[in-house]
Symmetry: C2
Subunit: 219 residues, 2 copies
């Protein structure tokens, strides 16, 4: 509700392709909507160009809304944008949204915790494989936890992830639910186990959403 | 937005004390609002009495909204209510909300993940102490993870939790942020380390919200 109110009061909205774009159609005609994917970045990184666009409009005294797709603080680059604004002396308020890491399992019938079953849950990115040297994740310790493990952006590397968890002690029979396009009309849930998940992904043609790999690529 | 629309279409709303009660003031006068804390439970547990109230109104053909405080799937008893409804053959849709486990750190300036710093985060309840035999949490493994650890309902047992994490290898200098009444007008953040957090809680009078201990007591 608060996000919607701030959108209605904005002069400029810088939006992601993966964001809730329906909201943009409701904006008054004087609001300038900028597609973050189309900001030219010349000698900058795309992220740096977005940071600069935010700053450039804000220093003109405009009220700028950055409408992010996904949770900007869960494997997104929200904090980097916030830091760039802080360095430029521009005040910024964060309006939290609904994170897919909890809501998508919930909408698919899976509570991330449940009395007597799961007393904690961990959210990890599947974008960086367990054997990638850039990974900061201690997979052997993750394998020992008994709560729910939520893997985001995990389709491509799910075989390696399942193998690593089993190699460090998780039962091959541990149930795995694959949820594709969760909370959308196209939502689909496919069940497997750690032992079968790699072949299930192939057999059932489970796929990441169309534009996710390019839009959320931060390791 | 979807939750608000369903509230507007409800015949009966069963609401928690900790829920967003402002929404109730907007409801049309014919909507019956039931305070979950005031449902008489005679020979039942309070939770069972709530389940029964949901079923009783639904079998009369009414559209029932259960408005929960906190995230019902994160140390709440959402799944138990859903199971009771499923057993009674009553269809139910879950509308996910904004979980404090991610939004409260975010609103206090702490991204639960950050590129090159935290590649995973774990959410655990502080309600059950690490040495409690009911605990299913593998604290030694939690202590080895390098990502963000979010402890909900942790004020009372934070000393024991910090001590356990240090005993299993976390640095005593690990930064700890205490966020009280996050995202409300009374939000307060107090910084400490694992070594100092127990004394900081006492010295700074960090307290759980007034009615939380009775309202969210499931281990």
């Amino acid at each position: 509700m608060r996000g919607r109110r701030l959108l209605a009061e904005a002069d400029v909205v810088i939006a992601d392709r993966l964001g809730p774009r329906d909201l943009l159609a409701e904006l008054p005609p004087h609001v300038e909507v900028i597609d973050a994917a189309k900001i030219p970045y010349g000698r900058f990184m795309a992220q740096e160009a977005i940071n600069n666009a935010l700053i450039e409009h804000a220093v003109q005294g405009k009220s700028v809304v950055r409408l992010k797709g996904g949770d900007p603080y869960v494997f997104g680059r929200g904090m980097e944008e916030l830091q760039a604004l802080a360095e430029a002396g521009i005040p910024c308020t964060v309006v939290p949204g609904i994170s897919s890491s909890i809501s998508v399992p919930g909408a698919a019938g899976i509570p991330v915790t449940h009395r007597g079953v799961a007393h904690e849950f961990t959210v990890v990115s599947g974008h960086v494989a367990p054997d990638d040297e850039r990974s900061l994740v201690d997979w052997p310790s993750l394998a020992k936890l008994t709560g729910t493990l939520v893997v985001l952006m995990g389709v491509d590397k799910i075989g390696k992830i399942a193998e690593t968890l089993v190699a460090h002690g998780k039962s091959p029979d541990t149930p795995v639910a694959l949820v594709q396009e969760g909370t959308t009309a196209a939502q689909r849930r496919v069940d497997a186990t750690l032992a079968t998940v790699a072949e299930t992904v192939v057999a059932q043609e489970v796929r990441p959403p169309p534009s996710s790999s390019s839009a959320r690529s931060s390791p």
